[in-house]
Amino acid sequence: MTDTTPRHTPLEDAQGLLVSIIGGAFGIVLLRTAGLVTGGTAGLALLISYGTGWGFGWVFFTVNLPFYLFAYLRKGPVFAAKSFLTVSAVSWLAEALPAWVTISHLHPAAAAVLFGVIAGVGLLGLFRHGSSLGGVSIVAVILQDATGIRAGWIQLGWDACLFTAALFVLNPMQVVWSLAGAVVLNLVIALNHRRDWYLPA
């Protein structure tokens, strides 16, 4: 069987990544305005940022550094380079955006739902254009190969630890709204990230 998978041109990939980066960064602005967290390395970076007062951008950039080695080993140089570019751009833009837009009024429910939708669409764009926002999933897959513990459980365990830690930093309602946002985000991806629907690699 010959490979008939359509491919994105570099320009198409660039616009896909750009739209997704802006979506991801604006999603982070919504979370920070309402004081919410999320899962993955972005959630860890938000939590560290709230706890220490350090800017989210640098923390997110730093937290993801070890991940590129695993991404390179497991998925190759293109995926690792795109992920590095994406994480760096979101780190920078999440810090730069507040100079251009300030939100005066934001209900935590709106923050959760709008974050879930806009970051979900952003992540969908990243995945479809062969990138990621760094993270835990690849490490989890490698750990599964090494130890036999299922990657899904490792990821769930990570997020469970993260949200438990969040209870010590945020008030309980903020943790509840954060969970709602994470559910919306993961619904968008679970329902829509399908290789049989969107063909190009």
């Binding site: 359509p6 198409e12 616009q15 896909g16 739209v19 802006i22 979506g23 604006f26 955006l97 251009w100 837009v101 300030t102 939100i103 005066s104 009024h105 934001l106 209900h107 429910a109 709106a110 739902v113 709008l114 939708v117 806009i118 979900g120 669409v121 764009g125 619904l187 968008v188 329902l191 829509n192 399908r194 049989d196 629907w197 969107y198 063909l199 190009p200």
Partner: protein, 200 residues
């Protein structure tokens, strides 16, 4: 070659809800900056700014004549989905200011954020077999028949609308509205392709 998969009703519902939410968020950026856009949404915004009536109600009414065209030329499912999407957006646009407001918003960023959020939102609505009414119906009809991209055709309508808007809206607001509309239509022109996103 297997048959392209079909969306279930639930999958279409989430696509239309997420799509209209993105579009409603895009409109918040636009209205805060006092900008317009193209299509029937742009027409509704111009009427809303000029008359003081709320955008949601005007948008709903402006689209009413187009359902007849959609029903005759494209079909029942498309028309019903378009009616649902337009109604959802009208309601969300009216409600969202209660939950979200900006104190500062740079005009260029307003355009960029509007273009990307609404572009992604419309893409989702199109891929799930709906539209935001009006010009989209005509443009999609033309793309399906001639292959001429809907994105480019919509840009022609927008050029006329922007020229007319200068009669009621300050020239700098109209000019600052251009980047957002260009980005929105570029997102659609590049990404709305039946050969790539094959589910219907």
């Amino acid at each position: 070659m297997t048959e392209p998969s079909r969306h279930t009703a639930f999958e279409d519902a989430q696509g239309l809800i997420f799509g209209t939410l993105m579009c409603a968020l895009g409109l918040q950026f636009l209205q805060h900056a006092g900008f317009i856009t193209g299509q029937t949404a742009g027409l509704a915004l111009v009427i809303s700014y000029a008359s003081g009536w709320g955008f949601g109600a005007v948008f709903f009414v402006v689209n009413l004549p187009f359902y007849w065209l959609g029903l005759r030329r494209i079909g029942l499912a498309f028309t019903v989905k378009s009616l649902i999407a337009v109604s959802l957006l009208s309601a969300m646009a009216a409600l969202m200011p209660r939950y979200l407001d900006f104190s500062t918003l740079h005009p260029l960023l307003a355009g960029v954020l509007f273009g990307f959020t609404t572009g992604a939102g419309l893409l989702a609505i199109f891929r799930h077999g709906g539209s935001l009414g009006g010009i989209g119906i005509v443009a999609l009809m033309v793309q399906d028949r001639t292959g001429f991209r809907a994105g480019w055709l919509q840009m022609g309508f927008d050029a006329v609308l922007f020229a007319l808007a200068l009669l009621w809206i300050p020239a700098d607001r109209v000019l600052w509205s251009v980047p957002g509309v260009v980005i929105l239509n570029a997102v659609l022109a590049i990404n709305h392709r039946r050969d790539r996103y094959v589910a219907t």
